[in-house]
């Protein structure tokens, strides 16, 4: 299995590296370095260095994953796919190539940025790659779910719809438009139920409306924010310059998210009708 995955990863890497798209990614990385870490400017802070490169890694991983998945989804590879005992090996090769390629470019940029960059002690340098790698892995899996290569039926609509709901939900507060809209709809429903004599439903709806006007939005916002805790924790720790005990778990939680999403992607990919492009 390892030989097959390595052979496929090598092929995808070589193909991307020798293509115009691969060259564009390399030039994009250099341009990003020139703009964000210009040697003419003053030395950036360590936190700036870590976060700006993390953002670069996330963006680049997303784009590279889309590119490689699109190439992997071509009918030119059908005879190879049929040879594999499991389609998941093919998916693994795409994921592995995307993460490694993007991380390699990120590390190249990181090395360039150290030129007239922040002076980081070795212990702090050792702490940085796991943060970037966890973010890149999660981004690559999310990008895979966004592609025709993995998506099947409504899968990407459901997944990204859920993420959107959580993103919007975490900004809920008592004065937000969404909260006001929700309160009005619940009140309307409550009155309608009361008018029909269905007090057994109207009464809890009335209580729910009251809760939404007081503690509800804050509680819901906290609930929706919970999945995003690792991102906040990493950003806070990087700005503070060190991780406390709970913050140190954040990259591991991101890897857990990535693992769950990989399992979901593998399940979808293994059972879908492959719609290969010509």
């Amino acid at each position: 299995m390892t030989q097959r995955i390595v052979a496929l990863s090598g092929y995808f890497s070589r193909t991307l590296l020798r293509s115009l798209t691969g060259l564009i990614y390399i030039l994009l990385s250099l341009a990003y370095w020139r703009v964000m870490f210009s040697p003419d400017q003053r030395t950036p802070d360590a936190s700036y260095y870590i976060l700006v490169l993390a953002a670069f890694g996330v963006g680049l991983t997303f784009l590279i994953t889309l590119t490689i998945a699109s190439r992997a989804n071509q009918a030119a590879h059908v005879a190879w796919i049929v040879r594999l005992p499991s389609r998941v090996e093919y998916l693994t090769a795409v994921l592995l190539t995307s993460v490694l390629f993007a991380t390699a470019l990120q590390l190249l940029l990181a090395a360039l940025a150290l030129f007239r960059g922040p002076e980081l002690p070795l212990t702090q340098i050792m702490l940085i790659p796991p943060i970037w790698l966890a973010l890149n892995a999660l981004t690559a899996v999310l990008a895979l779910h966004a592609t025709d290569f993995v998506a099947s039926g409504w899968s990407r609509i459901i997944l990204f719809g859920l993420i959107a709901i959580f993103l919007v939900g975490q900004s809920l507060n008592a004065k937000s438009g969404l909260t006001t809209w929700l309160i009005l709809r619940v009140n309307d429903l409550s009155r309608s139920m009361m008018g029909s004599g269905w007090m057994i439903i109207a009464s809890p709806l009335n209580s729910f409306s009251g809760w939404l006007q007081q503690d509800g939005p804050a509680a819901l916002s906290n609930l929706f924010s919970l999945p995003f805790w690792p991102f906040h924790a990493i950003a806070d720790a990087v700005v503070a310059g060190s991780f406390n005990t709970s913050q140190a778990l954040a990259p591991a939680v991101l890897l857990l998210y990535a693992t769950l999403l990989i399992m979901l992607a593998a399940d979808i990919f293994a059972n879908k009708d492959m719609d290969l492009t010509e």
Binding site: R4, Q74, A76, H77, V78, W80, V82, P85, N271, M274
Partner: protein, 290 residues
């Protein structure tokens, strides 16, 4: 080797395969015939695992999926690769490495007569070369099950006969082959089984020998009407027909022709003509898809 049980495949409102049940026996060459849109390519995709059935099951008879060599009807390649690079990648995916892989690539190129193009980029290859390359890639790693969707498509007559020679040698090597084609004479030459699909259903399935024998018949014409003697011939076998001076032997009754001739002569009839009418595959096909 593979059992296909009650398989249905639907694409939105289109039923590409409708309750298809087939057995693909080990070591046989199955010729899959049918008009365009009959469901042949869909069946190949299901066996190859590119698509999943909407209903029914496809499973290996011994519970373990064999490695599959698949040549789709319209085989596309990563055009930037050289011929030998493409085949080397197939070898790696077939768990071959180093000298084993190189040997497998060389052997497959030799088998399809493509050694001269080994260093060519695939985009520079002609259509015939691509067809040969499609066939070369299925030979690597020695997969026991080969799926060939129109293997001779786009080849000139000599190229076609070379391809069918390769298929014949693969059969002799014990491979199980499922192939589709529109060239009926080649089916007669290389296939041991015949399956005719039409509108997603199996309309005909038989071994090639039985298919040809079942539809053939022998006509014996006497010099005068057989009258009462005809009844004694009818009693010999169910598949004997008598009408006036004509006797028709079908199916297994064809093996009784010598006995019938002797009886006729002994009864004092002269035999005017004996005809062995062999039915062609195109007649079987036409009857199955009409």
């Amino acid at each position: 080797m593979i059992e296909i049980s009650n398989v249905t495949k639907k694409y939105l409102n289109l039923t590409a395969l409708d309750h298809v049940t087939l057995r693909i026996p080990t070591g046989e060459v199955i010729g899959l015939l049918g008009p365009n849109g009959a469901g042949k390519t869909t069946l190949f995709k299901l066996i190859a695992g590119i698509s999943s059935p909407s209903g029914g099951k496809i499973k290996p008879a011994n519970g373990v999926w064999p490695q599959i060599g698949y040549k789709p009807e319209r085989l596309l390649f990563p055009n930037h690769l050289r011929v030998h690079e493409y085949l080397a990648q197939v070898a790696k995916l077939s768990n071959l490495s180093g000298s084993q892989a190189r040997h497998a690539v060389d052997a497959s190129l030799a088998k399809v007569n493509l050694q001269s193009a080994a260093n060519k980029r695939i985009k520079e290859c002609s259509k015939g070369m691509r067809q040969r390359l499609g066939l070369a890639q299925i030979l690597i790693g020695d997969p026991p099950l080969l799926l060939l969707d129109e293997p001779s498509n786009g080849l000139d007559p000599s190229g076609q006969s070379e391809i069918y020679e390769v298929i014949h040698s693969l059969h002799e090597a014990g491979k199980t082959i499922v192939m589709s084609t529109h060239h009926l004479p080649e089916v007669t030459q290389v296939c041991t089984h015949l399956v005719i699909l039409n509108r997603g259903q199996v309309h005909y399935e038989n071994s090639m020998a039985q298919a040809m024998a079942a539809q053939s018949h022998i006509r014996i014409r006497a010099h005068k009407p057989l009258e009462e003697f005809g009844a004694s011939l009818l009693a010999l076998h169910d598949e004997i027909e008598v009408k006036d001076e004509l006797i028709v032997l079908k199916g297994e009754a064809m093996f009784m022709r010598r006995q019938v001739l002797v009886m006729l002569l002994e009864a004092g009839y002269d035999v005017v003509r004996v005809e062995h009418n062999r039915v062609s595959l195109s007649e079987i096909y036409a009857e199955a898809v009409q």
